[in-house]
């Protein structure tokens, strides 16, 4: 996925469709993230102003949803399913293998972030790991090598 570098002008253009609509705060934040890969801190007051809500309201929404990022994503984003269906076929072992490779769930660097997800809906073909938006079923420890390549 490629994203634009943050600029105030671009952000203003992204936000324009949501002017004066307080129900669009989440959609506006999602649109910013789709454009820049994350929600830059500088855009919080902009969203507040455009949608006519307080900055605290925007901050509240931004920090509530697991998928909204406040920092640029790593060059590679790996998401590991931690839910029961995947646990029953070895998700915990995969989680441990990432940890053993120095990338525990929740770790983040410029090159790689490894995140926990609670279900991709691939529950008959787990364990499931997603690498840069591509979902892989029937995963084994080998997925760690694949993710680090």
């Amino acid at each position: 996925m490629t994203f634009d570098a943050w600029s105030e002008g671009l952000a203003a253009a992204v936000l324009e469709p949501y002017r004066s609509d307080e129900t669009m705060v989440l959609v506006a934040l999602q649109a910013l993230q789709a454009r820049f890969g994350y929600v830059p801190a500088e855009t919080v007051p902009m969203v507040a102003q455009v949608c006519n809500v307080s900055r605290a309201d925007v901050h509240g929404v931004l920090t509530f949803y697991h998928e909204l990022r406040t920092a640029p994503p790593a060059r590679r984003v790996v998401r590991v399913c931690r839910s029961e269906a995947c646990q029953s076929v070895g998700a915990r072992e995969i989680e441990a293998a990432f940890a053993a490779a120095g990338h525990p769930l929740g770790s983040h660097s410029e090159n790689l972030s490894v995140e926990a997800v609670y279900c991709f809906g691939n529950c008959a073909l787990g364990p499931t790991v997603e690498i840069d938006g591509t979902m892989h079923g029937y995963c084994t420890d080998d997925i760690v090598t694949e993710a680090l390549r």
Partner: protein, 500 residues
């Protein structure tokens, strides 16, 4: 030469795209990316159209294609992976596909294909009826909410119909977050027009003019497919200002969640749709009277709304004739986890758990004995191998101390660490709690800590009493089902751990 390769996310996770890309290079192939037939363990399941009908091969990897091509599979040639007509497969024959009748069969985004297989027959009939008549039909069918709570759909619709307001809404809850459930995703990816048709019927029934589908962000393909289908429906007069010249208006939009499990709770979903933190609202007021933007709103799950077209097309009696007791119609069961043959099974209510898990499912994938089966998602109960004769209907599951939920069934083998699962239930609640009520927000974290102490052998008896007390408090004092039901798997897993 028509060849079907599913574009279903699950099929893609095991290589369907690679197979499709190779097949697309062959000059004689007309590639159709269908939904999944639901036999997940056979994915990628490739079907070729021959004079003898559709012949299936699976599971097909890109590396199998050379040998398939030499075997002349495009004409149904013999091969190790040849399965014959998938609709004659024992797994398929025993099912009663109603809601899932078209999933996997058709090109999901072809309106012609949809209509050729009975699509829009239900809406066409509804357009000739009054709202009261449509609601009466849905009520008579016995259709209950498939999201988990099992509330009669017709009664909910009646409340919205009778509410007077300038605007009413239809909100589809497609935030299918329970582990072990994927039926909503498969339907949205494999037959999106059915959901659109069901929502349009609901709109006509209650007098709503605007609808929204709230889809979890973990389902990007479903979002994309729905948006494309909505655009096609608009272009062809099946949505918009004047549906099929009948003077009824209904428009539809898709909204994406942002990774919050709690937004599958209906009031939390409304908060999210209104742009706020997904924190649950206290009920009453009921969303049917004061829902989206404070207006009367029908909120139903994907499968509930997708069952409505058939109810209207074939009549309430045909739907009501299926099932047992107060659970009428069919349930789309999802076999998941450590299971040899996982996937989607649509059957009338009342089939025993054992038949699903051992019969259709073939036991565990690992080949070990079944350790436990969790039914109804992360808030559902675990059942031990000696409890599998339980009948799967809403009331029987409740009486057995569990819940059917959205019909997801997750199988564990005997290596399952029940204490670890008890801990996970609390941990999951702590991660996903919306934070509005104290029992859930704080209780879940205290629960993790207490279970950890028990596992370390610290003051085991005292901590067990404490945990029991905490579970009782969370059950009685939480605002919604997340905090209120988390103790269910916790307590049962502890009991299972004790029995070992």
């Amino acid at each position: 030469m028509k060849i079907y390769v599913p574009a279903d996310s699950s099929a893609r996770s095991v290589g369907a795209d690679e197979v499709a890309a190779r097949l697309a290079e062959l000059p004689y192939v007309e590639l159709v990316r269908n939904g999944s037939r639901g036999l997940a363990w056979l994915e990628p399941l490739v079907e070729v159209e021959t004079a003898q009908g559709r012949i299936a091969y699976g599971p097909v990897r890109a590396s199998d294609l050379d040998s398939l091509i030499s075997a002349d599979f495009a004409h149904g040639g013999p091969h190790l992976l040849r399965l014959g007509n998938i609709e004659e497969h024992a797994w398929f024959v025993a099912q009663d596909r109603v809601t899932f009748a078209r999933v996997g069969l058709i090109d999901p985004l072809s309106l012609d294909d949809f209509r050729a297989h009975g699509g829009y027959a239900g809406l066409t009939r509804a357009l000739s009826m009054t709202g009261e008549e449509v609601v009466a039909e849905v009520t008579a069918s016995g259709l209950r909410g498939r999201g988990g709570a099992g509330f009669p759909a017709g009664i909910k619709w009646k409340t919205v119909l009778n509410a007077s307001a300038d605007v009413k809404y239809i909100a589809c809850n497609a935030d299918e977050g329970d582990s072990g459930t994927f039926a909503d995703r498969m339907l949205m990816e494999g037959d999106p027009f059915t959901l659109i048709e069901g929502m349009t019927i609901a709109a006509i029934a209650v007098g709503a003019t605007h609808g929204v589908i709230y889809v979890r962000s973990e389902y990007p393909a479903a979002i994309e497919t729905l948006r494309a289908a909505i655009a096609t429906a608009n272009l062809n007069g099946w949505l918009g200002d004047d549906i099929q010249g009948c003077g009824r208006a209904f428009d539809l939009e898709v909204r994406s969640g942002a990774g919050a499990y709690i937004c599958g709770e209906e009031t939390s979903m409304l908060e999210s749709l209104e742009g706020r933190r997904g924190q649950v609202r206290a009920k009453p007021p009921l969303p049917a009277l004061k829902g989206l933007y404070g207006k009367p709103t029908v909120i139903n799950n994907v499968l509930t709304l997708a069952s409505v077209p058939m109810v209207l097309a074939d009549g309430a009696a045909a739907y009501q004739a299926r099932g047992v007791e107060r659970s009428r119609g069919t349930q789309v069961f999802q076999l998941a986890g450590n299971i040899a043959r996982g996937g989607i099974l649509e059957l009338p209510f009342g089939v025993p758990l054992r038949e699903l898990v051992e019969g259709f499912g073939g036991g565990t994938r690992s080949g070990r004995p079944i350790g436990a089966v969790q039914v109804g998602g992360p808030l559902g109960a675990y059942f031990g191998p000696d409890e599998l004769d339980l009948i799967t209907d809403y009331e029987a599951m409740l009486a057995a101390g569990g819940m059917l939920g959205h019909g997801g069934i997750v199988v564990f083998d005997d290596t399952m660490d029940a204490m670890e699962q008890a801990r996970f239930a609390m941990e999951f609640c702590a991660v996903e709690s919306c934070g509005k009520c104290t029992p859930c927000r704080i209780g879940s974290t205290r629960g993790v800590e207490t279970i950890d102490r028990i596992r370390r052998g610290e003051d085991v008896e005292a901590n067990r009493v404490l945990l029991d007390d905490l579970c009782e408090l969370m059950t009685d004092g939480s605002l919604c089902a997340l905090g209120g039901l988390t103790p269910l798997p916790v307590r049962i897993a502890l009991k299972l751990a004790g029995a070992r």
